[in-house]
Symmetry: C2
Subunit: 488 residues, 2 copies
């Protein structure tokens, strides 16, 4: 009881709780309206929509066409909240949904279902035009974007015009050019990745159960390797360990003692961004669970069945999940021709207002913004996290509204300042760690209480009411019945 109160006080001293409450109140405002409709009811709407499609859209929209590229943390946050009275909004994204990435690891093992962690783009933006496509390149002189449709086998190409452009295309997983990673490793960026992982874990156990498998092959099939000891790799390992011990152990009792799990990282420690005492706690917990941690270890190559470890030879694996860094994606690479990149040469450099900088004169391009993982602010380095992307999108929304209200003037727009809300990581068996030491040196918590905080924070941040119902329900169902192991 006393501990709970102490914990509460701790949070009230930080800005974290305040920020959470704000988020919650915002979420409550965005509950979708419930209505049932029929063909007939749409006739009047249809007429106006057809007018919209014929290019009469900008009537009354003082700021013209705002094109948002991407539907991740930055793009989705912006498209959801942008004031469509001032802008005619067009969204281009290869996937027609947003992924709530903090819960993606949970969904990859079935603690939650895939559809609990997505929000469809169209559902939250009836006034927004959406194209399911990749943006290939941008012509900042002509103000056009060349796109390739992500439908129909990606063979259709088209070009769209913009008045204001927001690049929020994110970043790709970085394989660091290590041979075989792209072919044999699984990643954890999208729902399709999570689905592959879920299928592969079950497949490994089924393979090890087949009559023609030899006794020597089984330990290799049941070695689950994770490369990357950051929060993503650690959370995924924790979820996978839960899945294996809580569900697979019951279904494959004769295999469970042959299972091994390893987390590899080239760095000297895992969870490098966390407070030292929390890091030690995580290592202790992982070691006790039997998850091996191999830090300072370089994976030199990957083939279908083995990791090639520097100075240590081949290690068999059944599943390999690659959760290391990020790299540029094709659009940011293409834009690098005339837009300045950051020192890693992977991200678009922007000023404090998120405007990209022209290679011609180093000056900001007034109507092209870049936010999220694909962008970096000059002399103000921030990590590529959902938190940063989210805050940037919120700030840009305000800036764009300000500009519209001021008749296009940039005068009253404020520069961006990041508020570090700390970080959290799940470490398995209903335990997590919360690190707010960036705001207060003593503000850290670990164990079950931190896990409750971890779950309630993400529950609070969940966007739709539908998912606010589904997520706790699946948490309860999983606790009672375990995770489903049907493989499809």
């Amino acid at each position: 009881m006393n501990k709970t109160r102490l914990f509460q006080q701790k949070f009230f001293r930080t800005k974290y709780h305040e920020a959470l409450l704000t988020m919650q109140s915002m979420n409550l405002l965005t509950i979708p309206t419930i209505k049932k409709t029929s063909y007939d009811a749409f006739i009047s709407q249809t007429a106006s929509s057809i007018m919209l499609r014929r290019g009469m859209t900008s009537l009354g929209k003082t700021q013209g066409k705002l094109v948002i590229l991407g539907s991740g943390w930055a793009g989705f946050k912006l498209l959801k909240d942008i004031d469509t009275r001032h802008y005619e909004v067009i969204v281009v994204s290869p996937r027609n949904y947003f992924v709530f990435t903090p819960l993606l690891a949970s969904s990859s093992v079935g603690t939650l279902e895939f559809r609990c962690v997505v929000e469809p783009v169209r559902r939250y933006s009836p006034k927004i035009q959406y194209y399911q496509a990749y943006a290939d390149s941008v012509d900042i002189k002509k103000q056009t974007i060349h796109c390739t449709s992500n439908l129909n086998n990606k063979k259709d190409k088209f070009t769209i015009q913009y008045d204001t452009l927001v690049v929020a295309v994110g970043a790709n997983s970085n394989t660091f050019g290590i041979p075989g990673v792209g072919d044999y490793a699984l990643f954890l960026k999208d729902i399709s990745d999570a689905r592959k992982i879920r299928q592969r874990v079950i497949e490994c156990f089924e393979l090890a159960s087949q009559p023609n498998v030899t006794k020597e092959e089984i330990p290799g099939l049941l070695h689950f390797a994770v490369v990357g000891g950051g929060p993503t790799g650690v959370e995924f390992s924790a979820e996978l360990h839960d899945f294996i011990t809580q569900d697979m152990a019951r279904l494959y009792p004769d295999l469970i003692n042959l299972v091994t799990m390893t987390v590899y990282d080239v760095a000297p420690q895992i969870l490098g961004s966390f407070d030292q005492s929390l890091r030690d706690y995580a290592i202790k917990k992982f070691t006790r669970k039997g998850i091996q941690i191999r830090t300072g270890t370089l994976v030199e190559a990957v083939n279908e069945r083995h990791l090639v470890i520097k100075d240590n030879g081949n290690v068999s694996y059944g599943m390999l999940v690659w959760a290391t860094g990020l790299t540029d994606n094709p659009l940011t690479r293409a834009m690098g021709e005339y837009i300045i990149k950051d020192q890693s040469a992977k991200r678009l450099l922007t000023d404090n207002y998120f405007r990209v900088l022209s290679k011609d004169d180093g000056m900001p391009v007034n109507n092209v913004y870049a936010i999220g993982d694909c962008a970096s602010i000059k002399d103000y380095d921030l990590p590529a996290t959902a938190q940063v992307a989210n805050q940037k999108a919120m700030h840009l929304r305000k800036s764009l509204t300000r500009i519209a209200k001021d008749g296009g003037s940039f005068e009253n727009v404020k520069p961006f300042k990041f508020t570090n809300l700390g970080s959290m990581v799940y470490i398995g068996e209903q335990k997590a760690m919360v690190d707010l030491t960036s705001t207060n040196v003593k503000a850290k918590e670990r164990g079950t209480l931190a896990w409750i905080f971890w779950r309630s924070s993400y529950f609070t941040m969940t966007i739709s009411l539908r998912n606010k119902i589904l997520i706790p329900m699946y948490w309860i169902l999983t606790w009672f019945f375990g995770r489903d192991v049907s493989k499809f």
Copy 2:
């Protein structure tokens, strides 16, 4: 009020209600036990399991190895209920789950989620050995089955031994050799089919929203064609119509008036197995909804974008779902070499005890049974439905227990008799039809009351407690929030 009572009386006069109550009580008995486990708790279990894997399994199992091929209605029902004290049970099936097919159409448009309509094989049978594989052929002399693993790109092959064999491999969708159907049509047999349909519907709407699509192309993209006017085709059309009018209409208001739906059938009428007055009712409802019915229409060929209709030329389509008849699958084809087929030459002929008949002498093979859609009883033709498969499996379970108790003697085994429990079909907008005229000429109902009966029957028949919670919850969520349109 009066109508409800009349309806109730009607059912009490038939055997249907009684049968349902029995099913319900059976389901209640199969609620899975809830327990949480850890590594350690399995050590003792592991030891005995390893013994099992080394071939010492039949110790104490008087009847030896019972191999069940398939995990559909027949195979799953049998493996779930079989008495493992007498038989060492091995299941071979390419998919590690059972699909509750009556709700598959619902899941194909997102009224329910995919995982609500499956039950994993391993969850309900801890004492059963399972191999995820296709059975390719059976050697009834040597009592062996040659299998190909459905894992690892289907390259592993193995052979297993049986003492008693139950063939319950089902049947494949019949394309009647019409060119292009296999390449371009979608089917509705498995979860993977349902997922493809769900993706394709959304894709059609997204394609029609792309900027480079011409006005002439849109009606073709938004033409949803169903071939087959039986219960599957009709239920799917009804669910699709619900999805389009209730959800897509709201998200794509400018496209909705361009959508068309057609049900094609080569027969002179749809729902041929239903009572005439019910059939007329369904046709009236479909016509009022705007779903075109084209009976007596032969589809001669299919290409990527068109149906070629006999005497009527090409018709563009966006999605084509093929829901006609069934044909043999590779195993039943292979077994036809030495086992007698029925007159269609597609199903294995059996006696009234489900024993297959040898081509050598026309006599039953004593230890090889065939049930479900892959089998047909000599001189006792029954439709290839879930109801028949289910009753056959229940009967076979009893027979096998009887044989075991009688020390292997076949003497007291009873021949199978089918009890027709009638049929139901959902026709959209919360209306269904229930046809029990086979038991009582007046026992039929249609409309909303029938729909409530339709839903409660399938809810009752749902197997796991997990799904008994999930299914009504998704029904409610869909009613409130609509179906999710994220495409992955």
